[in-house]
């Protein structure tokens, strides 16, 4: 096991350090929800993510849009949630992929721009059990039926 937190860089975008954590049995999801705007993280409902590939693909897209086009949302973290979604509406993406009232399994993304931010200390304000980031862990919390609905464009819903 490579350590419980996944920390990596994208070959093309060395100036960003990406951290991914997964928590099970989270007890403070409503508190997190009420403070989403202030917390510099992406909190994702684990039910909607099946693999590291799905997640890292969204992170790549978020950074790509930020670097080469423009941010469509306020922060790189909300950009990640938007990039998970087939829809281009941030509210809709948050409803689909963000944490809900009572979400117990949460994936956290923290992206640091090395040149103007402090390294990440690992504290994402989540009360829960930290578990390893892996395809196995992701697929145990994933809900395929939910994924089928959140991953299709809204005009087809």
């Amino acid at each position: 096991m490579a350590g419980i937190v996944l920390k990596y860089k994208i070959p093309q975008f060395q100036e960003y350090t990406i951290h991914v954590q997964k928590y099970n049995n989270v007890t403070n999801s409503s508190e997190l929800r009420s403070k989403l705007a202030e917390l510099p993280f992406a909190y994702i409902d684990s039910k909607t993510v099946i693999s590291v590939e799905q997640l890292s693909s969204a992170i790549y897209k978020a950074i790509l849009e930020t670097e080469y086009n423009r941010m469509r949302t306020r922060t790189i973290h909300s950009e990640c949630i938007l990039s998970l979604s087939p829809s281009s509406n941030i509210g809709d993406a948050l409803n689909r992929f963000g944490i809900k009232e009572g979400t117990t399994d949460i994936i956290v993304i923290k992206i640091i721009e090395d040149s103007n931010e402090e390294p990440y200390d690992g504290n994402a304000s989540v009360d829960g059990d930290l578990v390893p980031v892996s395809d196995d862990e992701f697929s145990t919390s994933a809900d395929k039926e939910i994924i089928k609905t959140v991953c299709i464009p809204c005009d087809k819903l």
């Binding site: 070959p11 093309q12 060395q14």
Partner: protein, 263 residues
């Protein structure tokens, strides 16, 4: 291959992504890379895996703004088409890994392999050459029927390829057999028109005739056999569509002949 083109994309992707050019077409340069564009390390699906980068370089003769818009449009178009095709049950197309429309980049899974005894990359063209000494073997027949099935499946779902040559069909080894995959949807489209589908069939027929003329008749019959089987599996509606399509295919063929007689 132009060093300038390679430098222009190497500059974007940085030294962290080594690129080996493998093909230069009219519109795109294709590279392989041992580096996945974004998967965290140690999570790649194997050490000797390769990834495909299809890069549409800047065209200096176009106005830069128009060029950027066009490149973005085509890159996104091809990516979206591939993503949709990939959802069709039984249809074989490369998996879309990533897309950077601002630099004309599409990342794909690498398909195929080098054929034995220096017969080159495992596309349909080289495969038929390799088997020319036993052209009507079961292996060749099954492969051609499967090629026809892939095209039938694509057309049944109202997608057209637009450039269906024997190099744009890649064979992937599956035990003793070879599974055909359709690649290069740069000219692909969603279309209900029999004309577009008839042209697809005609282009492939011509490609087979021009490179494998002595065996082409049989090859083309096998392709049509597989093609028809997909439509047949959809009952009356399927057969109706099949007939309309073949009628148009024959018209397209006739037009082609006339054109070549005139010169």
């Amino acid at each position: 291959m132009s060093a300038e083109i390679i430098a222009s994309i190497a500059d974007v992707l940085t030294d962290n992504i080594p690129l080996t050019p493998i093909s230069q077409g009219a519109e795109a340069v294709v590279f392989t890379s041992p580096v996945h564009p974004y998967l965290p390390k140690n999570r790649t699906d194997g050490d000797d895996k390769l990834y495909i980068l299809k890069y549409r370089p800047e065209k200096k003769y176009r106005h830069p703004v128009i060029d950027k818009t066009l490149t973005k449009h085509r890159t996104l178009g091809e990516s979206r088409l591939l993503a949709k095709l990939r959802l069709i049950d039984g249809l074989n197309v490369p998996k879309l890994i990533g897309c950077d429309p601002y630099h004309g980049c599409i990342w794909l899974e690498f398909l195929g392999e080098d054929l034995p005894n220096g017969h080159g990359f495992s596309n349909l063209k080289n495969f038929l050459w390799m088997n020319a000494s036993d052209p009507y073997s079961d292996l060749v027949r099954d492969t051609m029927i499967n090629v026809g099935k892939q095209i039938g499946l694509m057309h049944w779902n109202d997608y057209c390829h637009g450039d269906l040559t024997t190099s744009n069909i890649v064979l992937v080894r599956a035990g003793e057999d070879w599974q055909p995959y359709l690649i290069d949807f740069g000219l692909g489209s969603i279309s209900t028109l029999v004309e577009d589908k008839g042209v697809d069939l005609y282009v492939l027929e011509r490609a087979i005739i021009s490179t494998h003329s002595s065996f082409a008749n049989r090859y083309n019959l096998w392709v049509l056999e597989g093609f028809k089987s997909v439509f047949e599996s959809h009952g009356k509606a399927g057969l109706g569509k099949y007939k309309d399509l073949i009628r148009r295919f024959e018209e397209v063929r006739l037009r082609g002949r006339k054109r070549s007689m005139i010169g």
